[in-house]
């Protein structure tokens, strides 16, 4: 019993010592972490030039025209041009909820606003909502066979900007829900903000969503 305890004690103390040695060491990199006493000026110049070139290349990839930025966690949409915020609008984004597809035991819709970088694909005025299957299933209604029965005008506001696989930035009748995650993946705005976004955005304008 005593021997077992001693062995356990030794093992654990060894573990602590190993960890302490590991943790107390300074952070290191592939490059030498110790600053050389005499830096070769030619090497330094080469490194600085390379760094400057790459930094310039990265800067050139940044959008120069206005772009749309969407914060889905805090439900805000911004129009930005470089560092300048041109619009800060309260939005509604995806609810993250799930709806099972009837007749498909494994199939389901997940109502997330997609994250990543997209571009404005279309600019619509007075858009008509073509209700997808999930909109009927969610309400417990039968999915219509006729396309005409899917059309619902007046619910998307005066404008809509299409992006990704069937998503839109559009208006809403439910302005009291702005600031909350309540949509099926689209991004909702109030009428004034929607008008402003429509004015600034062209087809091809980047939309960055996180």
């Amino acid at each position: 019993m005593k021997r077992g305890l001693l062995s356990l004690w030794s093992g654990l103390m060894g573990l602590i010592l190993i960890t302490l040695v590991q943790s107390s060491g300074p952070p290191i990199s592939n490059a030498s972490s110790a600053k050389p006493s005499a830096v070769d000026p030619a090497l330094l110049h080469t490194l600085q030039a390379r760094h400057k070139l790459l930094a310039k290349q990265l800067t050139q990839l940044m959008p120069t025209q206005p772009y749309i930025l969407v914060d889905t966690a805090r439900n805000h949409l911004y129009i930005k041009r470089q560092d300048q915020v041109m619009l800060d609008a309260l939005a509604s984004t995806g609810s993250g909820t799930i709806l099972d597809k009837p007749g498909d035991s494994k199939g389901q819709w997940i109502f997330d606003t997609p994250r990543g970088e997209f571009t404005v694909q279309s600019r619509l005025t007075n858009p008509v909502w073509v209700k997808p299957d999930w909109a009927f299933i969610e309400e417990g209604l039968e999915v219509p066979k006729s396309q005409a029965d899917r059309l619902e005008p007046g619910v998307l506001g005066e404008y809509a900007l299409g992006f990704g696989k069937g998503y839109f930035i559009h208006g809403t009748l439910y302005t009291r829900l702005l600031g909350k995650n309540v949509t099926h993946g689209c991004i909702r705005l109030n009428d004034d903000d929607l008008k402003s976004v429509y004015r600034h955005a062209k087809v091809g304008t980047p939309i960055m969503i996180f």
Binding site: S23, S24, P27, A31, H51, L61, A73, T97, D100, F210
Partner: protein
């Protein structure tokens, strides 16, 4: 035996605190230092490859103690790191792809689900979670637990258990292959949830390492 375990727990907790403190360094970017330049250049080379594609990516800047959500080189969102620790700093020099998002308890909607379900929100996101990457890397995200000793104990316990099992494998099993790199990040509770919300499957992660202690 109980006394022994209690003593060890205290010792383990104390070493954990000192570790986090010692490695929480925020060096300024010194472009006259070749090591700093080399690291910054390496990260820029990797970042340009990511920024040319239409995607968002994450730069964990250990030198500046911040997690940056970026797209096209633009900083979209910044999450301050309160402390971090790793035993594998020299290995963290590539682009990692997140294997899967942290698990979220999503609510079902529809007529079958009955009453209207609440949407998910930031508050539903985990405050402590592990991110697994390809090539192998484990990032343990811990949230600041000021004023909540129970959460602190649970988090530290989890971090230590991971380390203990890792060392047990090295010391007492036949598997002598090097353990995959790991990084522990402590952020505020809100920021931990924000990070869990933001990351997506396949998202690229870059790490900029400090070059001075």
């Amino acid at each position: 035996m109980t006394f022994l375990c209690a003593t060890l727990s205290v010792l383990l907790s104390l070493t954990s605190v000192s570790w986090a403190g010692e490695l929480d360094v925020v060096p300024a970017l010194d472009l006259t230092d070749p090591a700093v330049l080399q690291e910054a250049t390496r990260v820029l080379e990797e970042e340009i490859k990511l920024a040319v594609r239409p995607q968002t990516y994450v730069l964990i800047d250990l030198a500046a103690s911040a997690i940056l959500i970026k797209g096209r080189g633009v900083e979209l969102h910044r999450i301050p790191i309160e402390s971090w620790s790793t035993a594998h700093l020299s290995q963290l020099a590539t682009t990692y792809r997140l294997r899967e998002r942290p698990l979220v308890n999503r609510r079902k909607i529809g007529p079958v689900a009955g009453a209207e379900q609440d949407p998910i929100s930031l508050a539903d996101m985990p405050t402590t979670f592990t991110l697994q990457f390809s090539p192998p890397l484990t990032i343990l995200v811990l949230s600041n637990t000021d004023g909540n000793p129970w959460q602190w104990t649970m988090q530290r316990g989890r971090a230590w258990w991971r380390r203990v099992t890792s060392w047990r494998n090295i010391l007492w099993t036949e598997d002598k292959s090097p353990s995959p790199p790991s990084l522990d990040l402590t952020v505020s509770l809100d920021h931990a949830q924000s990070l869990a919300w933001t990351v997506t499957e396949g998202m690229p992660f870059l790490i900029r390492r400090p070059t001075t202690p």
